[in-house]
């Protein structure tokens, strides 16, 4: 699968289709027969109460979990599962619910890891450094600096990310994903634990990425107002099952969704 194939998909057409995905861990069902599709260029949100299987869904999309059954159609190609490395190479980047940054490395280095797949110099050239390897480093450094500027990370460029506050770490993680210049960006609760201002900032970054860079965004978020504001379409999961999908206004009036959120029993 080449990146160019994805780039050929017109905006608004399906880029990922998930068909009847089920996933279980030793008898415990995390996902049951979930199907939905993501269109190129949209902001797509997955919502649902805790334990609904949202993060598992993202893990299926980027190949970290292998679904027990079901099919994934990615850019027109049907497959049973994804592989993390393949997903990364095909332009899928993600952030994590519990921040998964490289804590011993500086902000700059963390962002530079986003460029790893695009660096082509071999080991010997890297050891030699002077010449092509240096040129390549500088080229990617420039790319990363743009992300740094975009996310306002200049002042913490050299700080080890382990010592940054939570909100900034979330931002660095987004930066690392953006540095990959992804086609599809999977965001797992990017605004969890943030105050209103930080949430606004984050929303702005997400939307800018979507508008300016035309990145497809798949997002998990608990804050309903944010979700309703920024997403184009929403799918709702509960106990691993899909209980609704559609545009924000449709979801707002969907009875099953309201019941799930308000905890009304169905009998």
């Amino acid at each position: 699968m080449s990146l160019s194939k994805i780039k050929n998909i017109p905006y608004g057409k399906n880029i990922i289709e998930l068909k009847n995905i089920s996933l279980s861990f030793g008898g415990v069902k995390a996902l049951t027969e979930v199907s939905f599709e993501v269109k190129r260029g949209e902001v797509f949100a997955i919502i649902g109460p805790n334990g609904a299987g949202k993060s598992s869904m993202l893990n299926v999309i980027n190949g970290f979990y292998k679904p027990t059954s079901g099919k994934i159609n990615f850019a027109g190609q049907e497959r049973l599962q994804m592989e993390p490395e393949f997903a990364a190479k095909s332009g899928i980047a993600r952030t994590f619910q519990n921040i998964a940054l490289f804590k011993g490395m500086s902000t700059l280095d963390n962002l530079m890891t986003g460029r790893l797949l695009k660096q082509k110099q071999n080991l010997f050239m890297q050891a030699l450094y002077f010449g092509p390897a240096e040129k390549e480093e500088t080229f990617h450094r420039e790319k990363v600096e743009r992300v740094i500027d975009f996310l306002d990370l200049q002042s913490i460029r050299r700080t080890p990310v382990g010592s940054l506050p939570y909100g900034l770490q979330k931002r660095v993680e987004l930066g690392r994903a953006l540095a990959m210049e992804p086609e599809i960006l999977l965001l797992d609760e990017p605004m969890a634990g943030m105050n209103v201002e930080e949430k606004q900032d984050m929303s702005r970054f997400v939307l800018t990425a979507n508008h300016e860079l035309k990145t497809t965004i798949v997002l998990i978020e608990h804050d309903m107002s944010v979700v309703m504001d920024i997403s184009d379409r929403i799918v709702v999961l509960d106990y691993g099952k899909k209980i609704g999908s559609g545009k924000p206004e449709e979801i707002r009036s969907n009875k099953a969704v309201i019941d799930a959120y308000l905890g009304v029993s169905n009998d």
Binding site: F64, L101, F102, M105, T113, L116, Q119, R141, R176
Partner: protein, 359 residues
């Protein structure tokens, strides 16, 4: 404010990413190199050579190797002795099989052979992690030592399993064997350490270095951004073993000249001390590898000379104290600065930047 960085601007990313971005560091390093290459060779005697400088350089090499694996890639290894033995015995076999091959080439080929062995023993690292891996690497340590002791081919069927180096020259000056002058062995090791030291630093600041660190800090996340775990870990094992192999080769050919595998590559003689070096020096720090090696080579000698020659204790009591103090220092060190000498150095630099002002 001798050590000030104000007024120094890096106007492009290239100079910003240099090994020594600051002018002061550049000057200090150049001076150090000048002294090391142009002054020390003229004054070095055989005590300084055999007891301090050559072991320091050789252990630095090993420490860089282990630091790549443990400090940068996060895979704790206790198999250093085994991999050094691979380097040493490769050198011996190559020397005796190809008497005309240049010693520098032999040393580097020995490094490559060790790298291959390193890849082989690195394979379990995909499944096994943390302390389990550390203990598992002991398997390679014990197996390799056993192998070199058991299979007579490795020591050319000599009666005892001892291997002895024969004389080899560089530019007409012997660098191995008993007749090698101190300056020659010293320079030979120094050149290798400087060249491969730079190569290591370059790898660390490039793609491969960031891949290693990504695996170290969070292997799952690394996999998801497209770092292939097995390949990256194996590269670390290979490069690390390459360095350790070269150090083993020098350890045999230049430093000891004759050795026996069971004793010279014992886990207590090599594996643990080299691990101490990188921990005391600083995990994941090039400077730390050197500082740690210096510390571990010098400390026993300083303690011994101090207690025996100055205080006048008997050799045995001094040794008992040495062991105790050595252990105490290590514990105190880990309590006070678990990030090692390299961190202390950067704190000192931080202080120097502001000196004479407290803040």
């Amino acid at each position: 404010m001798i050590y000030k960085e104000t007024g120094q601007y890096n106007s492009n990313y290239r100079s910003d990413h240099a090994i020594f971005p600051l002018m002061q560091d550049k000057i200090a390093f150049s001076l150090l190199m000048l002294v090391a290459f142009l002054f020390v060779p003229f004054v070095v005697d055989s005590y300084w050579e055999k007891a301090i400088l050559v072991p320091f350089l050789i252990y630095s090499m090993a420490a860089i190797g282990l630091n790549i694996l443990t400090g940068y890639c996060g895979q704790v290894s206790l198999g250093t002795g085994g991999f050094m033995a691979v380097g040493a015995f490769s050198t011996y076999k190559l020397m005796t099989t190809y008497p005309d091959l240049n010693i520098m080439i032999i040393v580097i080929i020995s490094g490559f052979i060790s790298a291959l062995v390193g890849i082989l023993f690195g394979l379990p690292s995909l499944r096994i992690k943390g302390f389990y891996l550390a203990v598992a690497t002991l398997a390679s340590q014990f197996f390799l030592v056993w192998l070199f002791n058991k299979v007579p081919w490795f020591y050319n069927y000599s009666d005892t399993g001892q291997i002895t180096v024969s004389e080899r020259t560089m530019f007409g000056v012997p660098v191995t064997g008993a007749a090698a002058p101190p300056y020659a062995t010293y320079l030979f090791c120094l050149v290798l350490v400087v060249v491969f030291g730079f190569a290591a630093k370059n790898m660390i600041r490039s793609k491969i270095g960031r891949s290693w660190m990504a695996i170290r800090d969070m292997d799952i996340a690394a996999e998801i951004i497209g770092v292939p775990p097995l390949k990256t870990k194996l590269t670390a094992f290979a490069i690390s073993s390459f360095y350790i192999g070269i150090s083993g080769s020098l350890y045999f050919a230049v430093y000891l000249g004759a050795l026996e595998v069971t004793e010279s590559f014992d886990i207590m003689a090599i594996s643990f001390p080299v691990l101490f070096m990188i921990i005391i020096g600083g995990l994941g720090s090039m400077l730390g590898s050197f500082l740690g090696a210096a510390f571990i080579v010098l400390l026993p000698i300083v303690l011994k000379n101090f207690m025996v020659d100055l205080v006048g204790l008997s050799a045995v009591t001094a040794k008992h104290f040495e062991i105790t103090i050595w252990g105490l220092l290590m514990v105190v060190f880990l309590i006070v600065e678990p990030h090692g000498l390299a961190r202390l150095w950067s704190i000192a630099k931080e202080k120097l930047r502001r000196w004479p002002f407290p803040y």
